[in-house]
C-alpha cells in the first residue's frame, strides 16, 4: 500500500499548542492570585485562603474517588481525622518522644493511605448506596474512637496541633506551605486525570463493562486511587490540625465531610479545575455574609440538589466553552478501511476461538444447549436467530459474564471460562455492546484511548509524577487512537465530548475503541442497530477489511442483508442450538432457517 495515501490528518483541536495553554489557563490564573494574595489581602483572608488550600489537598485526592471513579464516598472526613490526630499526637509526643512535624506529616500520609484502602475496600463488593452508608459509618466510628481513646488523643479535651518550624510558623509562611502542598496535589491529580489511569477511572464510572472489556482491572486501580486519596486526606488532616492549632473531635463533623463531597460535585465530575473552584467557593462563600455561616450546610445541600437536578456537569461544564460550539449537522461517517493495515499491523494470528458443547441454563430454561462454534482468524462469522435463541448469551459466555454449566471456550489452549473478565483483553479479544458503552463527559479521542489502556507501560506512580514513560504512553496511545478514529471515519470529532454525538457515531467509536487492542478476535453485538442503510453499507466494508487484516470477527446481527453480504460463515441459532451452519448462500436457501428466522 502506498504510504502517502494513508496520511492521517492531524486532529484539528490537537492537544499541543494553544489548546493545552487554554486548559492550563485557569490553573495559572488561580496560582497567580494565590501566590500574590498577601499583597492585597489582610490577615483574616490569609486564614480563609489557608483553609481553602487545606480543604483542596483533601478534595483533590477525593476528586479521583468521587469525580473520576464515581464512588460515592461521603464520609471522607474520617481520613482527615486520622491524619490530624496522627500528626498531632506524633508531633506532640503523646505516645513516644516528639518527632519533627514534617516527619509526623509524612507518617500520617502513610497511615492515611492504609486507612484509605480500608474505607474504600467495601466499594469493590457493595452497591452504591451501601458503600455510601459504610463511609458514613466510618466517619462516625473514627470520631467515637478518638473520643474514647483519651490516653492518646486527649478525648473530648483534644490535643494541640503541630507547629511547623520557621519559616512556616508565621501565618503567611504556613499559608505558602499549604499552597505548595495544594499545588503539588493539583499537579499530581491533573497528571493522573490526563493519563490512561484517569481515563480508566471514568470508564469504570460510566461504562464498567466496557472498562473490563478493555482489560482494565477495577480492584487494582481503585486500590491505588484509595491509597493516594487516603494519603492526601491525611496530609490535609495534619495541616488542618496545625491551622486549627488545637483539635477536638467536634471539629470533624459530617457537615465538613459533606462539604468536600459537595464541592467536588458542584465542580463537575471528571474535572480538576471545577472541583478546585468548587472548594474555594464553598470555603469563601460563608465569609461574605456572616448570617450565612449558620446556614452554610443548608445552602450547600440546596446547591447539591440544584446541581444534580439542573446542571449535572457542574462548574466544569459552565467553563467548557469549546463544547458549546454547534457541531456540523449534516456530517457523515466516512470510514477509511485502507488505514486498518497500518493500525492492525501484520496480524499473524493463526489461532481459532473454539466453543465446544457449551451449555447454560437460567432457572431450568436452557439458554444455550450444547453449542459448538469455531471462529477462524481472518473471517467474519455471522450469528443469527430469533429473539431468545441464545446469540447475546453466547457472546456473554465468551466475554465471561456467564459461566456455562457445561462445555468450554478455548483460545490458544487457554480456557476462557476460567479467566477474570478483564483478562480477555490480554488475549486480544475485543468487543462492542448492544447499547454503546461510552464515557459521555470525555472526548471522543479519550474514549477511544480507553481501548488501549493495557498497552501502556508506565506505572501509576510514573503518571502521578509525569515521568518520561507517562509521556511516551500518552503519545503512543494518542497516535494509535487518532489512526483508529480516522479508520472509522470520525477523526474530525476527536476533541468533541462523546455525549454530543449521534447514536450511529457512538457505534463507530466503540469499534475504534475495540480496534485499539489490535484484536485477534472482535465480537460485534448488533453493530448495525439504529444505523441508516448507507451507514450499514459502510460498516460492512469496514468489518470486511478488519477481517482481511487477520482479525476473526463474530457478528451478532438482526440485519439479515448485512449478514448475507459480508459473512464468510453463518451460524443460525434456535432455542440455544445450532439450527444450521454454512456459507451465506447455503443459509439463504435453507428452508427451515428462513422459517425459523422469519418465524414459521
Amino acid at each position: 500500500m502506498d504510504m502517502s495515501t494513508t496520511e492521517v490528518r492531524p486532529a484539528r483541536a490537537s492537544l499541543f499548542g494553544s489548546p493545552a495553554l487554554s486548559a492550563a489557563l485557569p490553573f495559572l490564573i488561580i496560582a497567580v492570585i494565590a501566590a500574590t494574595l498577601p499583597l492585597f489581602a489582610g490577615g483574616y483572608w490569609g486564614v480563609i485562603a489557608t483553609r481553602a488550600c487545606v480543604y483542596w489537598v483533601l478534595a483533590a485526592g477525593l476528586n479521583l474517588v468521587v469525580g473520576f471513579a464515581g464512588q460515592i464516598a461521603i464520609g471522607w472526613v474520617a481520613l482527615l481525622t486520622v491524619g490530624a490526630y496522627t500528626t498531632s499526637v506524633l508531633a506532640a509526643g503523646n505516645v513516644m518522644p516528639a518527632i519533627d512535624p514534617f516527619l509526623a506529616l509524612a507518617i500520617a500520609g502513610l497511615v492515611g493511605a492504609a486507612f484509605g484502602v480500608i474505607v474504600g475496600l467495601p466499594a469493590l463488593r457493595l452497591r452504591t448506596f451501601y458503600f455510601a452508608i459504610t463511609t458514613l459509618g466510618f466517619a462516625t466510628i473514627v470520631t467515637q474512637i478518638v473520643l474514647a481513646w483519651a490516653s492518646v488523643t486527649g478525648g473530648g479535651v483534644g490535643v494541640p496541633g503541630p507547629v511547623f518550624p520557621a519559616p512556616f510558623d508565621s501565618q503567611w509562611g504556613f499559608y505558602y506551605l499549604c499552597l505548595m502542598v495544594a499545588a503539588v496535589c493539583t499537579w499530581m491529580t491533573a497528571n493522573i486525570a490526563g493519563s490512561r489511569f484517569g481515563r480508566a477511572l471514568t470508564a469504570i464510572r460510566d461504562a464498567e463493562v466496557a472498562a473490563e472489556a478493555s482489560g482494565i482491572a477495577k480492584p487494582k486501580l481503585l486500590m491505588l486511587v484509595f491509597l493516594f486519596s487516603g494519603a492526601t486526606a491525611a496530609i490535609a488532616g495534619g495541616l488542618f490540625a496545625s491551622l486549627q492549632s488545637y483539635i477536638t473531635p467536634d471539629a470533624f463533623t459530617i457537615e465538613l465531610s459533606v462539604l468536600f463531597f459537595i464541592a467536588i460535585l458542584i465542580g463537575g465530575r471528571g474535572s480538576i479545575v471545577g472541583p478546585l473552584l468548587g472548594t474555594v467557593l464553598l470555603t469563601v462563600l460563608p465569609e461574605f455574609a456572616a448570617p450565612l455561616v449558620a446556614w452554610s450546610t443548608f445552602l450547600y445541600a440546596v446547591l447539591l440538589l440544584a446541581i444534580v437536578l439542573l446542571m449535572p456537569g457542574g462548574i466544569a461544564e459552565l467553563l467548557d466553552f469549546k463544547n458549546r460550539r454547534p457541531l456540523e449537522s449534516n456530517r457523515a461517517i466516512v470510514p477509511r478501511p485502507d488505514l486498518l493495515a497500518r493500525l492492525l499491523g501484520q496480524n499473524q494470528n493463526a489461532d481459532t476461538l473454539r466453543l465446544e458443547q457449551v451449555a447454560l441454563s437460567f432457572g431450568g430454561v436452557r439458554a444455550i444447549d450444547g453449542l459448538d462454534l469455531t471462529i477462524l482468524p481472518g473471517q467474519v462469522h455471522g450469528l443469527i436467530g430469533p429473539n431468545g435463541s441464545g446469540k447475546t448469551t453466547t457472546l456473554n459466555v465468551i466475554s465471561g459474564y456467564y459461566t456455562p454449566q457445561g462445555g468450554t471456550a478455548k483460545l490458544k489452549g487457554v480456557v476462557l471460562t476460567q479467566l477474570a473478565h478483564h483478562r480477555r483483553a490480554h488475549l486480544r479479544i475485543a468487543r462492542t455492546f448492544q447499547t454503546p458503552r461510552i464515557v459521555g463527559e470525555a472526548s471522543v479521542l479519550e474514549n477511544v484511548m480507553i481501548g488501549g489502556t493495557i498497552d501502556g507501560r508506565g506505572t501509576f506512580v510514573e503518571s502521578l509524577l509525569a515521568l518520561p514513560r507517562h509521556w511516551k504512553d500518552e503519545k503512543m496511545l494518542r497516535e494509535i487512537a487518532m489512526l483508529a478514529l480516522s479508520a472509522v471515519g470520525l477523526e474530525q470529532l476527536a476533541a468533541v465530548r462523546a455525549d454530543r454525538l449521534q447514536h450511529s457515531e457512538l457505534r463507530f467509536i466503540e469499534i475504534a475503541r475495540a480496534l485499539m487492542l489490535r484484536p485477534a478476535f472482535l465480537l460485534l453485538d448488533e453493530p448495525a442497530a439504529g444505523l441508516s442503510a448507507e451507514e450499514i453499507r459502510r460498516l460492512g466494508a469496514l468489518v470486511v477489511e478488519i477481517s482481511n487484516n487477520g482479525t476473526g470477527v463474530l457478528l451478532v446481527e438482526h440485519h439479515a442483508d448485512l449478514i448475507f453480504d459480508i459473512c464468510h460463515h453463518v451460524t443460525v441459532l434456535n432455542l440455544g442450538k445450532t439450527l444450521a451452519a454454512g456459507t451465506p448462500a447455503e443459509i439463504r436457501s435453507h428452508r427451515e432457517v428462513v422459517n425459523a428466522y422469519l418465524g414459521g
Partner: protein, 245 residues
C-alpha cells in the same frame, strides 16, 4: 372481511419513535378497522414490539395516532387503557406472587368496583383451565397458563382493540391454538386485534390483513387472501434497501 371504507378504529400516521438517541421506527402508517384482526409480522429487531409500546403510550412518539376518534398524542398507558386499548406485553409477565383472580382484578383497577367481579368472570370464561386455578398464585401456573392469564388481563378491560405481543412464544402448539381460538371469538364480538406473531402461517390463517415491518418501516401491507404472500413477505424482509410501504 371488514371494509376499510368507514372511519378506522385505529389510525397511525407517520409515527416515529425510539429509545433515547436510537431511532427504531421511522414514519410508520397503519390502520385497523373495528372488529378487524391484523397481523404485524417482521424479522427480529424490526420494531414490532416498539410499535405496540408506542401506540399504548409506554414510549413517547412523534407523528399521529387516532383511536376511535380520539387523538392519543401525549396519552400514557393509563389513558389508552381507559380509551379501550389493551396491550398484552411480550413474555407473559403476570404478577407471580398474586392469585389469578387478583391479577385479573388489577387489570380492572379503573373499572367501577361493583362491576369488577363480573368482568373477571367474563374473562375467565374464555379460559377454563385458569378459571380452575383462580385461587392459586400465578407462580404456580405453567408458561402457557400464564400467557392465558395475560391475555385474560387484557380481556378484563373489554377493549375495543386488543394488542397481543407474541402470544405464542414458549407455548406448545395445542395451547397456541387455544389462544388463537379466543382471538377468533373476539372478532365475532366486534373486538379488533393487532397480533404480533412469529408463527407466520398461523397468523396468516387467523388475520384479515397483514402488515410487515422491516428496518423500522412498513414494507408490506396486504389482505391475507392475496396470492403468493409468504414469498412476498420473504422478499420484503431481505430487501437490501427499505422498500416503499
Amino acid at each position: 372481511m371488514p371494509t376499510l371504507g368507514a372511519e378506522p378504529l385505529l389510525s397511525v400516521t407517520g409515527l416515529s419513535t425510539g429509545y433515547g438517541k436510537v431511532g427504531v421506527l421511522r414514519g410508520v402508517d397503519l390502520t385497523i378497522a373495528a372488529g378487524e384482526v391484523v397481523a404485524l409480522l417482521g424479522p427480529n429487531g424490526a420494531g414490532k414490539t416498539t410499535l405496540l409500546r408506542a401506540i399504548s403510550g409506554l414510549l413517547p412518539w412523534t407523528g399521529g395516532v387516532q383511536f376511535s376518534g380520539r387523538d392519543l398524542a401525549g396519552a400514557g398507558p393509563r389513558e389508552t387503557v381507559k380509551a379501550g386499548l389493551a396491550h398484552v406485553i411480550e413474555g407473559h409477565r403476570v404478577f407471580t406472587q398474586q392469585s389469578v383472580t387478583d391479577n385479573l382484578l388489577l387489570a380492572a383497577y379503573d373499572v367501577p368496583r361493583g362491576e369488577r367481579a363480573a368482568r373477571v368472570e367474563e374473562a375467565l370464561g374464555y379460559f377454563p383451565e385458569i378459571a380452575a386455578k383462580r385461587h392459586e398464585r400465578a407462580v404456580a401456573l405453567s408458561g402457557g397458563q400464564q400467557q392465558m392469564l395475560a391475555v385474560a388481563q387484557g380481556l378484563v378491560q373489554r377493549p375495543r382493540l386488543l394488542m397481543l405481543d407474541e402470544p405464542s412464544a414458549g407455548l406448545s402448539p395445542v395451547l397456541v391454538d387455544r389462544v388463537f381460538v379466543v382471538v377468533s371469538k373476539l372478532r365475532e364480538t366486534g373486538t379488533a386485534v393487532l397480533l404480533v406473531e412469529q408463527l407466520i402461517e398461523k397468523a396468516l390463517a387467523l388475520a384479515d390483513r397483514v402488515y410487515a415491518l422491516a428496518r423500522g418501516s412498513i414494507v408490506l401491507e396486504a389482505a391475507t387472501g392475496e396470492a403468493d404472500l409468504p414469498h412476498r413477505l420473504e422478499r420484503a424482509y431481505f430487501a437490501p434497501t427499505p422498500a416503499a410501504g
